[in-house]
Structures are given as structure tokens and as C-alpha cells.
């Protein structure tokens, strides 16, 4: 049971970091974010699509990302998300935390993160 809880926490935390990281370079829409997480993690983090939008909204509510409707001629309007300045700071500190976490794991269990 405990492992499931940890797993959930890990996933939840990692999903947020992943989203922030994906938006670091450019703005993206929801489907793209979901697909990229899938793709980049080689399916290792199977991210349930159902939790994608709640996560996005949560991040938006926290002011870490900002969603905007974009209309381009000849295309359906799409909602794009981009990283805010606050999001950028959080991403940096989160990266730091994750690094420390993996380093600790590595010391304890000799687990290496790629």
C-alpha cells in the first residue's frame, strides 16, 4: 500500500515537473503535452490522460503556467500553455530537488537515474 502511495506521489510530482519542463522551450497545447510525455519517457511514465487537464489547471491556478486560446486562420482554435516566470523558478528548484533525491537514492540503493 505504501508503495502505491509513494508511486502516486512520485507520479504526481514528476508529472508537474515534466509539464513545466516541456513548456520551458515553447508553448504547447494539451494533446501535444500528453503525447510528448508519453514519447519522451518511452512509456516509462504512463501518464493517465484523465489527470493531465486537472494537473494543467492546478498548475495554472498556482500561476506556474498560463493558458491562452490561439486562433490561427484555417485551423481550429487551440489552447496553448506557456511557462510563467514563477513557473520557471519552480521548475529550477524542482530540478534541484529531483537531482538531490536521485543522488540520495543512488547513495542508498545504488540506483542510477539515466
Amino acid at each position: 500500500m505504501a508503495s502505491t502511495l509513494l508511486e502516486r506521489e512520485l507520479k504526481r510530482g514528476s508529472a508537474e515537473v515534466l509539464i513545466l519542463a516541456l513548456l520551458e522551450q515553447r508553448q504547447r497545447h494539451g494533446y501535444e503535452i500528453g503525447r510528448l510525455i508519453d514519447e519522451r519517457s518511452d512509456g516509462a511514465i504512463t501518464f493517465h490522460v484523465a489527470s493531465l487537464y486537472p494537473t494543467l489547471y492546478r498548475l495554472e491556478d498556482k500561476g506556474l503556467i498560463e493558458g491562452r486560446w490561439v486562433e490561427r486562420s484555417g485551423q481550429r482554435r487551440r489552447r496553448y500553455y506557456r511557462l510563467t516566470a514563477a513557473g520557471r523558478k519552480v521548475l529550477a528548484s524542482q530540478r534541484n530537488i529531483w537531482d538531490q533525491f536521485f543522488a540520495a537514492l543512488n547513495r542508498v540503493a545504488r540506483i542510477r537515474h539515466a
Binding site: R26, Q27, H29, G30, Y31, E32, G34, R35, H48, V49, A50, S51, Y53, P54, Y57, R58, G67, R68, W69, V70, E71, R72, R76, R77, R78, R79, Y80
Partner: protein, 909 residues
């Protein structure tokens, strides 16, 4: 596609949830994308719909999704990556580089192909530009015209020259030109300055007006003035000389005091009056000094008539055209004194003179222009082939990258962006290929002076300058755009669903793979056609070159050493003959020498003299005929040494001396043109040789015709006199030795030199070459053209062969499932091989057929550069077709085997 917004809203409504309209919109957007992706993965419409419905159900299960959201303001600004046409360019470049790094083999082949194509094209362009188009290195060079003379449409004995009569009348009065100048080449002379060792230098006799016409200025000292010229018209030096920069440095260490000093040319004193700048080259780099010369007047003070032919050039007056100069020159020439029979001898006719003024650069390059243009066309074809090859590779690659391209399109890359990406990838090839091509061109330029024949005009003008570099850049850019557009055009038609859903190993009966295969097959056939055209051209040039080498020249050039000696003017004829006969006798005594002889003429070196006279026709004594012939004085063994066939009568013997009866030997052309049915025994009247009134020279022998210059020139009437009988010194002003040897003749060169020096220490032997070397020198251009075109053709064939292999392998791979089905249904390996063979037959056969048709039409343009082979030579065409079929068959072997070995269990699972 289902209306997802309504479905999402309905799903939430069923759970009594009312999400924000924005949320519904966003989820509907996601649902639509998921549906497309599901379809792309191969799901049916229905399966995909089901999958998305399940997704919508999971959303409804999480109330967090449905939380009321504050209304968000709509943005009207598009995402930054679509902001400007230039944004993301860096990304594209980085991406392209990464792709190249990932496929080094492909990149290497593409860059190498481009480099060879661009390098060859750039080099040929620079040669064609430098030689044919670049202005001559003189001020207002476009106003320089070369002046030539013909009579009754007949060229003078030395093509591209004019005679003294028209030159003098035009010099005296002119309106369309500013000035006219002449120059005459002469054998090299021995130059000694002070205490230095005598060296042999090439010197040119020029009229003082030459420097005016060229608008050249001296570096030190002065140019010639009219009084400098030796008015006697003698071609042997006397008076003043101007040195080239190089000779000045060598002989005088670049000291200005050289001006005023006296140098000895063949033992005669000449005063140095000036030095030309380093850049001054006229007419070629071999010429190291210029002496003042002026053509003799037609009517000499002693009552004799003189006619000289020499090269001439004029400067047009501003506003005059070459046509106007032609008209003026012709009318002035008509008022020149009539040179009488000499004109017949020098022009083969004594009609009114026609003067032609042709822009100097055109006249200089006339004989290389057709070949250069042909090679330029050939290299353009080569570039097209190379570009098509890269385009074909790109098409194959684009087909393999369809998923990637489709995904890029699916996540928002527009056609423009995709096209740009592909063009940028190719621009990288173009850039790398262009850079490597320019490097290749630079390397080739270093080798050009060695590669180009010695008589190739304007080699100095060939160079890599900004024009050539811009040409290379434009070529590289053009080629890369073409290569990039081909796959981009295919990508434009990518159907996302189809591309993403396509099974990589599926049998292909439709879709882009087929379109790609078709485009590649078409390119392939085109490459075959281009190879075919180039190969036919190369085959024709090679066969023509072989025909030139094998042509019957009348003499046997193998194992023959030849050399020239200029004889001092003050030597009597007796002294000359005694010296020449003495050297020949000593040469004959050397081991390994079969025969040795002397004469005053040698094919490809010096033609002897020209002579025109009147005589009664032996066939019809009442009729007086004009004889117009080349006349030579030779030693008795001359014919045997040259291997010239005696067709009738006898050769000269040592008994044909001054005291013996006059005898003459004529060649076949002379006999049949002038002497009628029984030439032997005919008496030819005094031909103006210095034998006083001893009339009558009996024809005692007839020899075969001998080609003097190019084998394509028709043989001329020729007449040989025994050297001991000619009687006057100026009949043998320069002599040649011909030495037939048992083995390799060149080692004898040193002994020949020593022998001459032991007899006459002051005389210099020059132009020691084997006769085969002389022949090959004249064939240097045809050989070069043949080698270049053959190189292009082989390169094109290699590309086509490798390309065909690629297309077939690709096609076999993509049809493996179809082949598996056929095999499973009982097709034998031979049936499967037939599938491949049929494809080869269509692609290669079609290409060859089209190529043959084009080659057949285009080969006519080769007519001017071919010898002894018809432009439609069947052997060349058949050989080319056979070669291409063999290449196609070889390219097909591996793919056909692979097809025959397809295991149905493997591919159908």
C-alpha cells in the same frame, strides 16, 4: 469525424456536471487529436470513436476536471514559432545537422556527388569563362581585332595571317582603325649577354606599332619607334630588342642599367632599349624578347617582289565596328601592288585580297570554342545527373521519414515550415558539396597548366575569381533547392492519417511509396538517358582520337628522332650542305641507328618553302598551268629515314650533286594534279631556285603524300630537290635531322647534340623530339577532350548504376510482402527474378532508348571535332547501349537475388 464538443458536453451532463465552456472546448480539441492519432495507428473509424469515448468517460470520472474555471481571455497572437518566416531557422539548421550526423553514409554519398558535380562544373565554367569570355589583358581590349587575309576564299599557307601588301597600304592610310601591327615568329635564338652562358630564347619580331595597338608601356627604357625596324624585311635579327621581365631578371638581375647594353642574338649585336612589365605577355609566355621588325614592301629596291605572311592585329577607332574595319581593310588591300605568282604560292590563288577583322578574343579561341562549349554542355548534364541522384536519395529518405514528417505536421508544422526544413537540410548538402566542389576546382586549377595542351589559348586568363565563386555558389544553391523541393513536394502530399497508419512492411499498391518509387524511377531513367548521351559523346571522341593516332600520315612516326638547327646567315650553301651531310653520316654510324638524314622541312615543325610558277602541262603542251607547291631541299636518305613510301622511280642518291643533272621527286598529289598520266621523266622548268639558267628538273621519283599538319587537312602538292643541287644558301635557312632507330629513339638526343656541337660549336640544336611526340602534341587537344568527356561519362554511369541499384533494392524491399505472397502461391525464384528484370527493362530500357534518341540528335554538334568517325557511328551507339545494359544487369543482380530469396514465412507473419 464526430462532433466532439457536443459529445464531451453530453458526457459531463450525464454526470450532472457542467464544466466551463472553455474546458469543454479544450477537451473537445484533445478528443479530436486523439481520434486522429487512433486512426493513424490503424484503428477503424469505429474503434477510434470508441477509444475516444472511453477517454471522455475517464475525464468525467475526475470532478477536478469539471471545476468551474475562471473565464480566460482569448489570445489573438499566434504562437511565437509562427511569428516570422525566419524564426526557428536556427532550429532547422541544427536539426538538419543532427540528421546528417546520424546518417553519415548517406551524407557522405550526397556531399561527394554534389562536390564532384559542382567541382567539375565550376572548373569547366572557369576555363570557358577565362578563355572565351574574359577580356584580353589590354586596355579597351574589346576594340582589338585580329586581321586576316584570304584570296578567292583561300586561306594563306599559315592560317590566320595577312600579307605585307595590304598591311602597308592600310598602315599608310586608315579611318576605321587607330593602328595596325604585325608580328612574325621565328626559331629560337641563342642569346648571350656579356660573360654569361648563351641561352636559347624564343624571340618575336614585332612592328613598332604593336605596343601602340596594345597600349602597353615599358617598365624600364622605351618602346620601339618606327626607325628601329629593319626595313629590309629579313627575318633574322638586327638592331634593337626589348626584354621580357623574366629575361631581364635572369640576364641583368633586374638592373635598370640593362637598357643600352648590347646582347648577342645568334652572334649578332642587339641593343636593349626597354624592358616590359612582369604582366606583359605577348603572344604567349614562351616569348621572352621582342625585336623591331617590319614586313618588307612588295616591290623591293632591287626590282624583285616580296610577299610575306605574318600575324596582324589592329585597334578599332572608337565607334568603329569589326565589319567596318573589314570593309576598309579589303578596299585598302585591293590598292596594294599585285604580288603576282607569289600570291599563288602563299594563298593557292591570286584573286583579289579579302581582309577580315575579327575581335581578337574570338580569333584566338576559335579552335577551342566548339569543344569547350560541348564540354560545358556535357558538364551541365553531369551536374543535372548528380543533382538528380541526390534528389532521388532524398526522395527515398523522405519516404522513410514520412512518419516523422507526419508527426511534425500533426503538431502544427505547416507546409511552408516542412518545406523549409527539407530545403535547409539540402542547403547543408549544397553548402558542404559546394565547398568541397570549390576545393576540387582549386585543386584542378593547380593541375590545369599541366593538363592543358601547350598550345591551348589563354591559359593565363583561367583562374578562380569572384565570378567563378559566385557561379559555384549559385550552382550549389540551385542544386540544393532542387534536391530539397523534390521531397518537399512529396511531403506536401502526405496524408497524415495514411502516413501514420501505414504499416512499414505492408504491400504497396497505392500511396506515397508508389509515388516516390515512380518519381525515383523517372529520375533513374533520366540518369540513364544522360549517361547514354555522355557515353555516346565520349565514345565518338575516343574513337576519333584513335583514328587520329592511327591515321596514315604518309611517314612512320615510330622510332624516329627529330631535331632542328637554325643555320647562320653567313654560311654558304656548300658549308651548310657539308655540315648537314657530315652530321647525318656520323649519326648513321652510331649503334642503334638505322638511317639518318637531313632536310629543310619536317611535318609538324617546318614546311620548307612555298613556290608558285607556270609550266606547260605535260598532258597538253599547248596549255600553260599554274603550279602552286611546297618545295623542299632534302638529303638523299630523307625518304628512307622518314619511312616515306617511294611509289615509282628512284630516291635521291649521293651522286645527285651540283655537277649532276637536275633531278626532282614529287609527291602523289603533285603528280596527279600537274603531271598527267606519265609523271616520271617530265621536265619541270626552273623553279626559281638559285641555279641560274640551268633549265629543267627531271622528275625521277614519286613518293606518297605526307600530312604536314593536321591529318584532316587535305594533302598538298609537294616537290623535293636534292639539297646539294639547290645552289643558294637561303633555300636552307634552317635544317632538320631525322634519325630512324632500332629501339627507343630519345636516348640518342644527347649524342645528336654532342655531334652537332663537335661540328659547329656555335650552333644550337633545338626542338629535339621523337616524331611520335610531335604527333601526340598535335593530338593533345582531342585527347584532352576525349579524356574529359570520358571521365564525365563514366562518372555519370557510376551514378546511374548505383542509383539503379538503390531504386531496385528499395523496390524489392517494399514489395517483399507481395513477393512472399507470390512465392507462397507457387511462383518459382525465376518468376520472381523476372519481376525485377521487368522493372530494370522498363527503367533502364526506357532511359537508354530516350538517351539514344537524344544522342543521335545531339551528336551532330560534334561533327567539327570528330575525325575519321561519323557522328552517327553505329559502333559507338551499339557499344554504349551494350555497356549500359551490362551496367543495369550488374546493378540488378543483388536486388534480384534478394527478391528470389524472400521467405514467405518471414514477410507474411
Amino acid at each position: 469525424m464526430p462532433e466532439w464538443r457536443a459529445r464531451v458536453a453530453a458526457a459531463f451532463a450525464r454526470r450532472s456536471l457542467v464544466p466551463d465552456a472553455d474546458v469543454v472546448d479544450e477537451l473537445a480539441q484533445h478528443a479530436a487529436a486523439a481520434f486522429e492519432a487512433a486512426r493513424a495507428e490503424g484503428a477503424t473509424d469505429r474503434d477510434a470513436t470508441d477509444r475516444v469515448e472511453r477517454l471522455i468517460a475517464t475525464w468525467c470520472g475526475d470532478p477536478a476536471v469539471a471545476l468551474k474555471r475562471p473565464r480566460r481571455r482569448p489570445a489573438v497572437t499566434p504562437p511565437s514559432d509562427a511569428g516570422s518566416a525566419w524564426s526557428g531557422l536556427g532550429q532547422d539548421v541544427v536539426y538538419g545537422l543532427r540528421l546528417l550526423r546520424r546518417q553519415p553514409g548517406f551524407a557522405a554519398v550526397a556531399v561527394l556527388t554534389m562536390a564532384l558535380g559542382i567541382g567539375a562544373t565550376t572548373t569547366l565554367f572557369s576555363v570557358a569563362y577565362g578563355v572565351l569570355m574574359k577580356p584580353l589583358p589590354w586596355p579597351d581590349a574589346d576594340r582589338l581585332v585580329r586581321i586576316t587575309e584570304t584570296r578567292q576564299g583561300k586561306d594563306p599557307r599559315v592560317r590566320g595571317t595577312m600579307s605585307n601588301g595590304p598591311f602597308h597600304t592600310w598602315t599608310a592610310e586608315h579611318s576605321t582603325i587607330e593602328a595596325i601591327a604585325g608580328w612574325i615568329s621565328q626559331p629560337p635564338v641563342m642569346l648571350s649577354a656579356g660573360s654569361g652562358e648563351p641561352t636559347q630564347v624564343q624571340i618575336l619580331g614585332v612592328t613598332p606599332s604593336l605596343f601602340t595597338v596594345l597600349r602597353a608601356r615599358p617598365l624600364v627604357g622605351r618602346l620601339f619607334v618606327d626607325d628601329d625596324a629593319d626595313k629590309s624585311g629579313a627575318t633574322t635579327p638586327g638592331g634593337v630588342v626589348i626584354l621580357s621581365y623574366g629575361l631581364w631578371q635572369e640576364q641583368f638581375g633586374g638592373q635598370p642599367e640593362a637598357v643600352g647594353r648590347v646582347v648577342q642574338l645568334n652572334g649578332k649585336p642587339f641593343t636593349v632599349v626597354g624592358v616590359m612589365p612582369k604582366a606583359f605577355v605577348f603572344p604567349d609566355r614562351d616569348t621572352r624578347a621582342w625585336r623591331a621588325w617590319v614586313p618588307p614592301p612588295v616591290n623591293l629596291p632591287n626590282g624583285a617582289m616580296a610577299m610575306t605572311i605574318f600575324s596582324a592585329m589592329a585597334r578599332l577607332r572608337d565607334g568603329s565596328t569589326p565589319e567596318q574595319a573589314t570593309a576598309e581593310g579589303t578596299s585598302r588591300a585591293r590598292s596594294a601592288p599585285d604580288p603576282g605568282m607569289t600570291a599563288v604560292a602563299l594563298f593557292g590563288g591570286n584573286g583579289p585580297a579579302e581582309i577580315r577583322a575579327v575581335p581578337a578574343v574570338i580569333q584566338m579561341t576559335a579552335d577551342v570554342r566548339p569543344a569547350l562549349l560541348i564540354l560545358l554542355a556535357a558538364v551541365a548534364l553531369l551536374l543535372v545527373t548528380a543533382t538528380a541522384n541526390v534528389a532521388s536519395l532524398q526522395l527515398a529518405r523522405a519516404a522513410a521519414r514520412r512518419r516523422e514528417i507526419a508527426i511534425r505536421a500533426a503538431i502544427g508544422a505547416g507546409t511552408g515550415r516542412l518545406t523549409r526544413q527539407l530545403v535547409i537540410e539540402n542547403a547543408l548538402f549544397g553548402l558542404a558539396g559546394g565547398a568541397a566542389g570549390v576545393a576540387l576546382a582549386v585543386a584542378l586549377h593547380r593541375a590545369l597548366p599541366a593538363l592543358l595542351p601547350a598550345d591551348f589559348p589563354r591559359v593565363d586568363a583561367i583562374g578562380i575569381d569572384w565570378r567563378v565563386l559566385s557561379f559555384a555558389a549559385a550552382t550549389a544553391l540551385g542544386a540544393s533547392v532542387v534536391c530539397g523541393l523534390a521531397p518537399a513536394w512529396q511531403a506536401r502530399r502526405v496524408d497524415l492519417v495514411e502516413a501514420l497508419s501505414e504499416d512499414g512492411s505492408a504491400p504497396v499498391g497505392h500511396g506515397v511509396r508508389v509515388r516516390t518509387a515512380r518519381a525515383r524511377a523517372l529520375i533513374m531513367a533520366g540518369q540513364m538517358a544522360v549517361s547514354c548521351v555522355l557515353l555516346v559523346g565520349a565514345a565518338l571522341l575516343v574513337r576519333s582520337f584513335v583514328a587520329l593516332v592511327r591515321a596514315d600520315r604518309g611517314y612512320d612516326p615510330a622510332n624516329l628522332l627529330t631535331a632542328r638547327v637554325a643555320l647562320p646567315q653567313d654560311y654558304s650553301i656548300e658549308r651548310r650542305v657539308a655540315f648537314l651531310a657530315g652530321v647525318a653520316d656520323r649519326l648513321r654510324a652510331l649503334p642503334g641507328v638505322r638511317e639518318a638524314a637531313y632536310g629543310n622541312a619536317l611535318p609538324l615543325l617546318t614546311s620548307g618553302g612555298f613556290r608558285g610558277f607556270k609550266m606547260r602541262s605535260p598532258a597538253d603542251p599547248s596549255n600553260e598551268i599554274e603550279v602552286n607547291t611546297i618545295q623542299r631541299a632534302v638529303g638523299p636518305e630523307y625518304f628512307r629515314a622518314l619511312g616515306l613510301k617511294l611509289e615509282a622511280g628512284r630516291a635521291f642518291t649521293p651522286q645527285d650533286t651540283m655537277t649532276a643533272p637536275n633531278v626532282v621527286i614529287v609527291n602523289r598529289s603533285f603528280a596527279s594534279k600537274y603531271l598527267g598520266a606519265r609523271p616520271l621523266g617530265v621536265s619541270i622548268p626552273n623553279m626559281g631556285m638559285c641555279r641560274g639558267d640551268r633549265d629543267g628538273w627531271e622528275v625521277v621519283g614519286i613518293v606518297a603524300d605526307m600530312r604536314q599538319g593536321s591529318v584532316s587537312d587535305p594533302p598538298q602538292p609537294e616537290l623535293f630537290l636534292p639539297a646539294p643541287q639547290v645552289g643558294c644558301a637561303n633555300a636552307i635557312s634552317q635544317a632538320v635531322f631525322v634519325v630512324r632507330t632500332a629501339g627507343e629513339p630519345l636516348p640518342l638526343a644527347a649524342e645528336l647534340r654532342t655531334l652537332v656541337r663537335s661540328q659547329e660549336p656555335l650552333l644550337a640544336v633545338d626542338s629535339i623530339l621523337t616524331m611520335e611526340e610531335r604527333v601526340m602534341k598535335t593530338l593533345a587537344k582531342p585527347r584532352l577532350y576525349a579524356v574529359i568527356l570520358a571521365g564525365f561519362a563514366l562518372f555519370a554511369v557510376a551514378i546511374a548504376g548505383v542509383g539503379l541499384f538503390g531504386v531496385l533494392s528499395y523496390s524489392v524491399a517494399q514489395r517483399s510482402r507481395e513477393i512472399g505472397v507470390r512465392t507462397a502461391l507457387g511462383a518459382r525464384p525465376s518468376d520472381i527474378v523476372q519481376l525485377v528484370v521487368r522493372q530494370v527493362a522498363i527503367v533502364a530500357g526506357g532511359g537508354i532508348a530516350v538517351g539514344m534518341a537524344i544522342a543521335f540528335a545531339a551528336s551532330k554538334s560534334l561533327t567539327t571535332v570528330l575525325y575519321g568517325v561519323a557522328p552517327q557511328d553505329p559502333i559507338s551507339f551499339v557499344a554504349v547501349a551494350a555497356l549500359l545494359l551490362v551496367v543495369s544487369a550488374v546493378a540488378a543482380i543483388v536486388p534480384a537475388r534478394r527478391a528470389a530469396r524472400v521467405d514467405p514465412w518471414q514477410v507474411l507473419r
